[in-house]
Symmetry: C2
Subunit: 437 residues, 2 copies
């Protein structure tokens, strides 16, 4: 490869009009009145979005396959040799949304990947590995819990059977919903290369032998996403180089008191859980503050039973979510949560622990080199939210690219990313793919 | 009246077996598995309870009338002169229950009144005034809000039209539900004696002329009820002489924050309403404690929106209920609630104010004299809960009698009052009626 070609490659950028146009077209599927979308996984709206995405992929002669979880893969060959087991660069995100979601969350990563591939085709650019665009099924977890279920199956965090058996609020099985919209594919949903290039065995129990082919070895997975937080915007930066994901621990806390009529019982004769709640909230927030700027605490669910204005509650229940990028610090926070939420009548149960994730140094460096080459203001950061990339990182070298979103708002119709940031993110994705060899 | 007759009168007591038997029979209507009852106002269960009560009244040849609110009145004449406008001693309570209520709340006051009347009949005892047993419609407010609606109409707190127009959760009008169970009576539901004996004009706007007769002047209203609090039980006393009712003020408090994903936003960039909640709870409870043993504060409703484990709530809403028997102290507490719940992003609205009620000194003294005569351990106290007596006290001299209930529990299947206390309460009611002249 000569110097002139390298220079040409370094100047290649995405077609802003085309990418923004596709973002707009996609946002019309399940559009809500205030600019957001409602495109819950495996609904008719999701089906329309999938069909539109596949049509665009087929227009570029990409090879479209669908796996057993309904995730869509669209492959651009590095050269026409027709071997499905050649290693790939995987890139994408998801097309499903929250019930009242934004039009950037997930869609950006899928359509920017498509745009990057189209630029490669238009410019007839050589690349070392096949590139596969992926749209993961049910990332949001809004219709079927848990979230990121298809990338979780891919990485062996859940078995395929478990995932297909999940039901939505009306009792519909995920597997049946897949069939209903015609997206129960035959490609293996589990990453099993059966080759030494697979960096790690999936954790799932061995599956019954299936006719599905083993997956192509994944050389790298790159996911572009809006930040869903305020850091880049407040710093005036365009690109976040995501080196990993915060560790997260979740708790259910219950304070047991005694249900009593609000009037007759003197305060001294009550067993009222509410003042205990007040004290616990204060102690928990003070605890988190003591662990510095990278520590987070959230009490997102909070309810009292029976919830009657003139009845002293019998119980108070609330959730605690603590996060930190460092495992040791998260462990220290955990111990303090247990200490604070101990005592007569207080129950505290840890229900989830997702240790901090550290992405692949080579992939992260490639993203940083791309941002630097394109001269975008950038910073290294950790993701506070979960993404399909977290699961994929268990089985393949992974990194993420963030762009700012207004006020850090996501999972909301008000979610918004500026055109220049959408384009910047897509350009960094394109340049990263070209750097990964 | 000679001394021997007075001595005889003072020895008269209720028939324990008969009263407890009727309590048991009534508890079978709408019985729940754990000893409680579900007898929501104007349901089929309420109809059965009403019919049973009326059957018992008719067996004693009482004159049964039903008013426009469905409240049932059963009259024992002092002498057979047949004038409906003769003054009455009114006594009773209610037969409806909470959705999962106890079998003493309300029923005790109605059936003890019936028992007292039956003892007067059996013993052929002279009394100065006609006695009317009343069972008020929809005291609980569990099916139709507001609570104590029929006694409220009686006292002019609500117009009849307003009350009949109230709807339950399924949209059924109270007036239609009354017709449905056959209890839309013709007696005036509003206390209008059109005579100088009426102590006060009702506050309701003047009603269209109706064929209903003016009510009999009420000389006194006496209501026997379980305490629904722990004071008598803990003091080992059998009778509460209720001199009044705590004043109550209700507030809706909202803390506005900003809905944010639990992960990405550093704590310093959040506008999280939860730590504000923690601080407000602590300050409100500390404030109430500063007003001494008679002050009460309850936060019975508390919710966060959107209520998702990994989302910083956008808003927190909670109710505040403060109570005190003295108007001045309640006002001082009110001012402090407003002061504590002031500040950026905090909204506090008072939604109800029920000033302290002071019952009629003559009626309260009569209850106390009765308890003393019967040698029951007793105390003067205020009611912490609302009762039909609160509204009736606006238009007629009123007092209440309390008996202990186990652990102060009410509005719950576990509600329980010991036989000896049921009998004590009924005996005090009987003796009080005989003292009121």
């Amino acid at each position: 490869m000569g110097g002139a070609y390298r220079e040409f490659i370094a100047m290649i950028t995405v077609n802003a009009t085309r990418l923004l146009g596709r973002m707009q077209t996609m946002a019309e599927i399940g559009a809500l009145p205030n600019g957001g979308v409602r495109r819950l996984a495996l609904t008719d709206e999701d089906k329309l979005a999938r069909e539109l995405f596949i049509r665009w992929c087929r227009e570029l002669n990409l090879e479209v396959t669908v796996d057993e979880m309904g995730s869509i893969f669209a492959r651009k060959r590095a050269r026409p040799r027709g071997d499905s087991l050649q290693p790939v660069l995987l890139t994408g995100s998801h097309l499903d949304s929250q019930p009242s979601g934004g039009r950037f969350d997930g869609v950006l990563g899928v359509l920017a990947a498509l745009e990057a591939v189209e630029v490669l085709i238009e410019n007839n650019i050589n690349h070392a590995y096949d590139i596969e665009i992926v749209s993961w099924t049910n990332e949001e977890g809004a219709r079927f819990a848990p979230a990121m279920i298809a990338s979780g199956v891919f990485a062996g965090a859940f078995t395929l059977e478990y995932a297909l058996d999940r039901t939505d609020a009306s009792g519909t099985r995920l597997g049946d919903a897949l069939k209903c919209i015609g997206f129960a594919g035959s490609r293996s949903a589990v990453y099993r290369t059966d080759s030494p290039e697979s960096p790690e065995s999936p954790e799932s129990p061995s599956l019954p032998s299936s006719p599905s082919l083993p997956s192509s070895p994944v050389k790298a997975y790159i996911e572009l996403h809006i930040e869903q937080g305020p850091i880049l915007e407040q710093a005036g930066e365009s690109i976040g180089i995501v080196g990993g994901v915060q560790g997260i621990r979740w708790y259910d806390v219950t304070i047991h008191g005694k249900e009593t009529h609000a009037g007759p019982s003197p305060m001294a004769m009550r067993n009222d859980p509410v003042p205990v709640l007040g004290a616990l909230i204060s102690r928990l927030y003070t605890m988190a503050a003591g662990f510095g700027d990278d520590a987070r605490i959230t009490i997102g669910e909070l309810s009292v039973q029976p919830g009657s204005r003139n009845t002293v509650p019998g119980t108070v229940q609330f959730s605690v979510d603590i996060r930190h990028p460092l495992a040791d610090t998260l462990q220290a926070m955990h111990e303090q949560v247990l200490e604070i939420c101990a005592g007569d009548g207080i129950g505290c149960t840890e229900i989830w622990h997702s240790p901090p994730v550290h992405f692949d140094a080579g992939c992260v460096d490639a993203v940083e080199a791309a941002a630097r080459q394109l001269n975008y203001a950038h910073r290294r950061m950790v993701s506070g939210a979960g993404h399909d990339a977290v699961y994929v990182s268990r089985v393949a070298p992974t990194a993420m690219i963030f762009i700012p979103c207004r006020d850090g708002i996501s999972h909301n119709e008000a979610e918004f990313a500026r055109d220049e940031h959408v384009i910047a993110g897509a350009n960094v994705l394109l340049a990263t793919l070209l750097k990964l060899k």
